[in-house]
Symmetry: D4
Subunit: 246 residues, 8 copies
């Protein structure tokens, strides 16, 4: 659209329907729209094969339904995070192939069936960290990454971590999810030299302060190669891991 507008001005100048001064004036006011246009295009290219993602928290079932419908018209696959069961039920009315993951609270419509590539490993410290870990895993898969899960490998289960050594050695990037003391990413990073995306969770009580304790632990990791996302932000971790896994 924008492009055709510019094209039209150029043509008009070329065909002398418009003089240089007028063309200049018109063009001077277009940059933003051009930018807008370019950005959209660029992004579409960039995100090819990536799902459009709806963050459902703080939205009504009605709002989510409307957004999902609109996105599904123009995208092969739509992913929604932090979706309630009610949102899923509403979505299923319009999309027979809608799928819901109860643990991660994610919903996918027109799930992409292309081969998953590379290898991301998602590790979690405890059973209670699973919703966040699953969100990361589902998002990365939806973005086309091959994902393996190694859950419940906290400090007390260090041996299980070590017994997965070979799997981990083959991964491109690790997502490590932990609440409470949040030490798992430091430990994993100390043993394996992989890039680690650490996700603090709000699991814990007392002085874990809803995720502040593991967040600080991870930010202060003595072992290099650890980066951090927001508390409970499985989505962000899965998304970044997929960017890196490509």
């Amino acid at each position: 659209m924008q492009e055709s507008q510019i094209r039209k001005i150029i043509k008009n100048v070329a065909s002398r329907k418009m003089d240089a001064g007028e063309a200049m004036k018109e063009l001077k006011f277009l940059p933003f729209e051009d930018l807008s246009f370019a950005k959209l295009d660029h992004h579409r290219a960039l995100r090819k094969g990536f799902p459009e993602v709806v963050f459902c928290q703080n939205k009504t079932t009605k709002q989510v339904a409307a957004i999902v419908k609109k996105l599904a018209e123009r995208n092969s696959q739509v992913l929604a995070t932090r979706a309630t069961e009610e949102m899923f039920n509403e979505a299923r009315k319009h999309f027979k192939n809608a799928q819901y993951n109860e643990i991660s609270k994610t919903m996918i419509i027109n799930k992409n069936k292309k081969l998953k590539k590379g290898r991301i490993i998602v590790l979690s410290a405890g059973t209670s960290d699973m919703p966040v870990a699953e969100e990361a895993a589902v998002v990365a898969e939806a973005m086309g990454s091959h994902v393996e899960r190694i859950y419940d490998v906290g400090v007390a289960g260090l041996h299980r971590l070590l017994s997965s050594k070979e799997k981990i050695d083959d991964a491109n990037v690790l997502v490590v999810v932990a609440g409470m003391d949040g030490v798992l990413p430091s430990v994993v990073s100390g043993i394996f030299g992989k890039p680690i995306i650490a996700v603090p969770t709000s699991v814990g009580y007392g002085a874990s302060f809803k995720g502040i304790a593991p967040l600080l632990t991870m930010l202060n990791s003595c072992s290099p190669g650890v980066v951090v996302v927001n508390i409970d932000n499985g989505f962000g971790a899965g998304y970044f891991a997929s960017l890196v896994n490509k």
Copy 2:
């Protein structure tokens, strides 16, 4: 420059030196520069008569000298905040008319002598808040605003505040600077119906936590018409007050 580039392309098309396709291609890659250009232009217009401002904190005397010199080439007036005396001495070597305000730590080169307009009143709670209050006043003056100062009118000097009633009634906007408990903006707003820009200062001790206490007091003001800037940010308050005073 940018403008001439566009003009040239248009002319080339008009004079058939370039065909529509080529022109299209050239123009597609310009938007950012256009934007850049537009923004600069727009800003220059917007800021007409406004000083370019250098924030000296965290910069070396050498860096400040270089920036001031460059700005002075293209601006009638240059304002620097949080400047040390050393920076001023360095600047004075090149600019005979450089002026330094010891209290506000501001430095002005080629001071604008146009008539000041409107009326901003800067109030401060205590003597120790003066550096911040002066910074606000000097910045607003440099931007062309007429400024009056009413200092040291904390709760204990409420009567002095009240005795300035008429002056205050004539102001367009008030800047109210206070540390410690930071109650002055609430009190001033309760008495006068003026828009107030509240500036918390780091003056105080113990539970004032370097300005957090007055910042919170001001953000929670029960009296409407109070907005807040960062702790010790006299510059931001003076700048905003001038935008509103126009």
Copy 3:
């Protein structure tokens, strides 16, 4: 009442029913009531055309009903913020023309129909910030300002922001509402030179700490011309914007 008291004393002196000493004595004890009286008067003048505003949060439906009733007797228009639907239903029993805005949770009685003046633009970063943005917009409109809304223009929708360039260039003041990272005010301020009232919202999760993250972002804005109000304080932003818009 107070006024008539003073008048009576004056008259008594004029008519020699009271001598100067006695009058002096009487008047010496009046100042507070005078102040009270004056302040009310002064404020009434100041707020001409402005609604009396009831902050409903932490009040019972019964309390709100009583206050609204009392205010409606003496004011042409009454505005209530953070009102529940129950409060609205109670109010409608007495005021047929009561109106309720479900998104902003505002209620207006005897809505003023005068022409709106000036131009305030309220921008919001995300859909979830709408309740706060609407509160700002409704309050500013109730105070007689012409308001335009540009919602959902966060960083990911920067192009939509840019495509509203002309509208924004005509505004006197902008209210910019954002949760989570709260970067929108900085970005808007960097592009447009307008005075901006930034409103952090409690929208977000994890390390957004119910609005602390966007509050800090806004207070530290590197771009001058940004002032801040309390988290979720759409009312304060709309009120201040209207004071400035006049």
Copy 4:
């Protein structure tokens, strides 16, 4: 008991059943019980006329009933704070004269009818601060103090505060209750020279952080003569005021 033990030892020495060395040895190990005994006595004397107070929060209805019953056996008057209506209903089964204050959530059994002495004034900034203010007032009354209430005199109602000047001038001590920005104690202290017990409340939203903002404001009061108690601690303020009012 303890007393009789000591008496016995003394008697044994007096009657030569025990020699000085043995008595010395026995007595050396008694101090704690003596202390315990003395302390109880001392406290009973100290608190004469003061109610035994039960803090009901975090206790079950059953626990409160048991404690109240036991206290009522040995005290003329029993006061319970933060009591639920359910607790009151339970208490009324055993104590016909039990009284309940719905606003302050206080319950009194065998209410003391002695003449109230001195004068404490309890001021509150807003309607929402009333539960805390009432708790202070009820506690002070139960401890025998004469209490007057001046509510809803925040910054916007400063004139009402001033119109109560004479009443306040006669008071021994003031309790000033405020949430949000918590400026009232500073303002009252600036006008009147009275000792002030400031009570921050959790009333507010956003950056009031459930009472932290007014707490800090009060702790940093620029006006001397202000002391502070815990957030929402009406009981502590009323109790201390009564100690001072005596």
Copy 5:
């Protein structure tokens, strides 16, 4: 001055030089000055015998010298807190009788020699808390109170506290100063039924967070009768204690 103005208006009415309407108009604009006038008077009465106090922190030696000189002209006694030795040396040039307390950093000019009344006891937990404790003691003495000091009676020295039982029983009010864990006020309040003004100090390290830990301990004291002032605010505690001691 203000008074004479009112008097003049009244006289003019009485002498028919001015009619009732004009007088009314004039008087309507005076209240603030009246208030101002009244407040000054009232305060002067209130503070009779109390020292004017200069808070020297954040002021220059020059500023302090000027303020002290001005105050000394109109007051019998001038007290300065947080004064440096340099400030004292400057003051001594003009006031031969200036006295300096090295521990509390207080300076007194024209020290009042009237008999001290009542009894305030200042207790401190550790040797390092002495500067704050001394500030409280010196301020209270300057205000005419009889003060006794019991220092270094922390938990480890509980027996020394108990051995001062009789002294403490005779006091009207206690000032209890403590850093680190700040438990002393709770303990003292549990043993003695006296009103206690608790002063947290910034003495400590690590998780004492420059006085936050003892501040919170004191605000949460389980023992009623404890009120709190700002961290290191010996002045505020001594001032309030004197108000109560009267």
Copy 6:
């Protein structure tokens, strides 16, 4: 499994099916599995007689039931903390001898009946701290320690503490539980020279900040011999006390 793998390699070497070089190579890649194996063994030995403990918070009834069942197959005694009544009812279906403690929310299956050894004393400041204190006591008992309880001995009941002197003098280690101001551990440590495990609780309101206040008090204890666990972490205190009591 791992063991059999190693055994197989050894056998192959012994039977000359594999030469030393190959065996070396194989074994070099096994250490982790060996570690895993060894660690399990070592831990089993270490914890002999100690219950396996299930932390039920953040787990579903179904998850807890599955874990408890699995543990009960291999352990003589299973302890679950923070269990709901629903979880207990589910567990009782499979384990007739399951016991539930309503106050501490602990559940034990196949309760160990061996003689308890040593002496741990659990003290609590208030009635509301009992759930946490009981959790500590039940855990320590399940681990084979003899435990005595002295509850409700806060500052106001200091004499009751002192009257338990002899009991306390015989203990190996004390667990001291307190919310609000959290002063009890400091006081107990000042009187008795015993090692103290201090447990802050979230009991309190306002500036106790859900346990932060007592946590800080305890961390800053002026009396040596005090260590601290997480807020409300009765389990951790009981566990550590048992390790020390052995």
Copy 7:
């Protein structure tokens, strides 16, 4: 003294100079002094072989010299922590055998040469944590414990930790010192089943917030058997470890 007073009363009764009633009365007022006396005695017994410890921080060289001298008169061994080199030089003037540890900033006079008993192991994560670790070690040794040091065994040096397995298995209690992310205690506790006293240090930068990050990590340790002391409190850890090691 106190003892002789009691003795005198007893004698007077025995010799009939005083009757039982009078004696009773006298004794009733002694408990506090008795307590004081008893407590001293008790403590002396308790601390037999333990050093009297002087905390030098916030004290002057002069004050420390005086305290050390006084303690040395009555104790075989005196330990001072956080002592400066200046303090040591002052002490050495009077005590030839004074020893100073530059790393831990501890000073010992009349060092006890008795055989050290039991086994405490002090581990530290990094080189920078050594001052705190050494303080713990020196204090424990001064209290008669046998101490071994294993320093610089952070996550990156996990293998060094594991290679010290046998030493650690023989210890009674571990002191684990770490700054930054503070994960070492969790890791050590996951591998070894020993009671661990975790000491967070202020070593780190940025979001380690001078020790808050490791403090929170340690308080939230997922591995049971970990207790925590104040940031940088090597003394407290060494003291508690010695109590437990006995």
Copy 8:
């Protein structure tokens, strides 16, 4: 060593000096040493071409010199961060080819001259953020990555950012460094779809709280693809970027 031990056991089995059972037993107790050994090896492989890095902060010049010397014996290249000029001067005595970067405070010995690969772009918001940005750039280069720098492109210089569009489009990963409001990573991420490692700096004043404000902004970024490292942690960002860039 360890390896030879295993080899010996295998040989003994092969030569029948030891039977399978004994060998099994021996090997079962080796895992830790094996692990230690393996880990070292693994790490050496992993880090091939990567510099050993010395974090100099909190270390003495002497300590740094010793560590650098030891590392230089076994590594081709040694990198030291947060090194002082004094440390560099000391190092230069032994290593003629030592290089020092005054801005980033980094020191390199035996600088690797291999071809840099891939493309990392390091962007910074302001001049004051340069030390942190340079640290990231230098570390990434030392690890073999090709790095480009785009500094001083904050919100006010958005156009400069846009004019670097093509460069940025070719990068594998971006490091974005910003203090104060920390909005740059969000903005960059909104325009370009690249993985971004955001580095908050302690540059700023007032409510930037030494980097907390930009840290929170970055953690809450509304634009996916942003991960965060500790405040001022240029090293961590450069290290992670290099892992990803490979």
